[in-house]
Amino acid sequence: MSPRIPNETIRKVLERHVQRVVSLPGVIGVAEGEIDGRPCVTVYVAEKTAAVVGQIPSDLEGWPVVVRESGEFRALTG
């Protein structure tokens, strides 16, 4: 399924795809995360609708993709 785990590998894969994924409508960002103890790519979206999720790949070169609804991130001035 996915290759053996050094994070450099997921980092290099992410590097190749980040521009494209972050440009998808509704996507706020991406990060290296973990699911069930294994590295994954986490994609943060403003709203987890079928339309938004539909265009996000379920894996990137073997690394699983997990979609999280974060909402927008804002600078925290009070």
């Binding site: 980092r11 992410l14 001035t77 009070g78």
Partner: protein, 436 residues
């Protein structure tokens, strides 16, 4: 036939000899077997004789076997000179103990605080003189007395020291460790200034970290991350660009601006007054809003006026005290905490690293950030006003990991810059605790 007979005789003799003794006949000095037998037979009586700690079979001066009896001291009576014809040699050895677990008596040092006295009161900003004696029964007078305050954390080491403390009711502890590692300590309670403040109040100088701060020309507020110092020893408050330079965060126009404690949002008149001055903006990383650019840090430093800034989050408000001066790299699943102006002490977990994220600075102004740390919590880890909080490990070491600058609306997700990128940009180090 004759040969066979001889062999049989030899075997018979040997066999009889064998059967007659309890143990196989050993080689050795004359009378050894007899001495062993005598020791074995009389051990129960010998070992229960008062003052006897042990027995053995050994060699007498003439080379013959003897039974040795070891005693606590000389002059133990009621021991025979011979047992079963074997000479008895008595030797006073003292107590025999297993070498591994031989405890030496050691007393911990006795620490006495001579100054300040219990219940002493000091005005805000006063210098406090501390003095203590540390006497150790085994090691004599100890000079390395460690002083700590329940509010300001570690103060200094020495038999006599002088420090300015922050406001509050302090438990001052003096402790000393002897050469065996035993610790002695003493404590007194003293009051400095009036009772403690909230994070949004104006604090007596030197102010703690983790409290409200801002720019003198903006009715806003953020958080002082920590104190940092440069190569020549100048001291700065660390926070975000958008906290210290909110009116020109994309440029450099606010260098030299006065920074205040608290931020003007938290001051009743919302107008600048000289009493709020903390220092001036020295440098900040401008935020680049171009879609072709990515930012790594949203950070600013402000040179502190002398005696303005301390190094610990307020323990009286549940802070973790001083952050460590040694940083740590973020890792997924790392337990972290922060102390900030709005939500004070909160705890969370790092769930993402090396994050690329779009961050809103105004309703129609966005910037790309890369290399970011994502922190998650079940409740609000941050709220507006917590900008600039220092992200540290959630353990006694409190190693700095990141600089908080943005989050989602309910605060369940927070973004922080990797702290090493921040420190490298300004070429500064964190003023924090060195131990642990």
């Amino acid at each position: 036939m004759r040969k066979l007979f001889l062999v049989a005789v030899v075997i018979a003799v040997l066999a009889s000899t064998w059967v007659a003794q309890a143990a196989p006949p050993p080689e050795g000095p004359p009378g050894l077997a007899k001495a062993i037998a005598a020791q074995e037979k009389h051990n129960p009586q010998l070992l229960t004789t008062r003052g006897v700690v042990g027995t053995a079979v050994g060699l007498g001066r003439d080379g013959g076997a003897v039974v040795r009896v070891f005693t606590l001291k000389s002059g133990v009576g009621r021991l025979p000179a011979f047992i079963d014809g074997v000479p008895v040699v008595v030797q006073a050895t003292g107590e025999l103990t297993a070498l591994k677990r031989r405890p030496r008596p050691n007393d911990p040092p006795v620490v006495t605080i001579t100054s300040p006295t219990q219940g002493a009161q000091f005005a805000s900003g006063d210098s406090v003189s501390f003095a203590a004696t540390a006497q150790d029964k085994q090691d004599g007078a100890l000079s390395a007395v460690n002083w700590t305050s329940s509010i300001n954390g570690y103060l200094d080491t020495g038999a006599s020291i002088t420090r300015t403390l922050g406001d509050g009711i302090h438990t001052i502890t003096a402790s000393a460790t002897d050469l065996q590692g035993a610790v002695g300590q003493a404590s007194v309670t003293i009051t400095v200034g009036t009772a403690t403040h909230q994070t949004t109040d104006r604090w007596e100088r030197p102010v703690p970290i983790g409290v409200s701060t801002g720019n003198y020309q903006s009715v806003s507020a953020g958080t002082i991350a920590c104190r940092v110092r440069d190569a020549v020893g100048n001291l700065y408050a660390l926070s975000n660009t958008h906290v210290f330079a909110p009116n020109d965060f994309a440029g450099q126009g606010e260098i030299g601006d006065i920074v205040t404690q608290p931020g003007l949002y938290d001051f009743p008149t919302h107008a600048y007054a000289e009493s709020l001055r903390l220092g001036t903006v020295t440098a900040y990383k401008p935020i680049n809003g171009s879609i072709f650019a990515t930012n790594v840090i949203d950070a600013a430093i402000a040179r502190m006026d002398t005696g303005s800034l301390g190094t610990a989050t307020p323990l009286t408000l549940g802070g973790y005290g001083e952050p460590n001066s040694v940083t740590k790299a973020a890792a997924v699943n790392m337990a972290v905490q922060k102390f900030g102006r709005s939500t004070q002490l909160t705890k969370g977990t790092i769930t993402g690293i090396n994050a690329t994220m779009i961050v809103a600075y105004a309703d129609d102004w966005y910037a790309f950030f890369s290399g970011q740390i994502v922190v998650e919590a079940s409740g609000a880890f941050i709220q507006p006003g917590d900008s600039g909080s220092l992200l540290v490990t959630d353990d006694p070491a409190a190693n700095p990991v990141g600089l908080v600058f943005s989050g989602n609306a309910n605060g369940t997700m927070t973004l922080a810059n990797p702290i090493d990128s921040v420190l490298r940009y300004f070429d500064v180090t964190i003023d924090g605790k060195v131990t642990e």
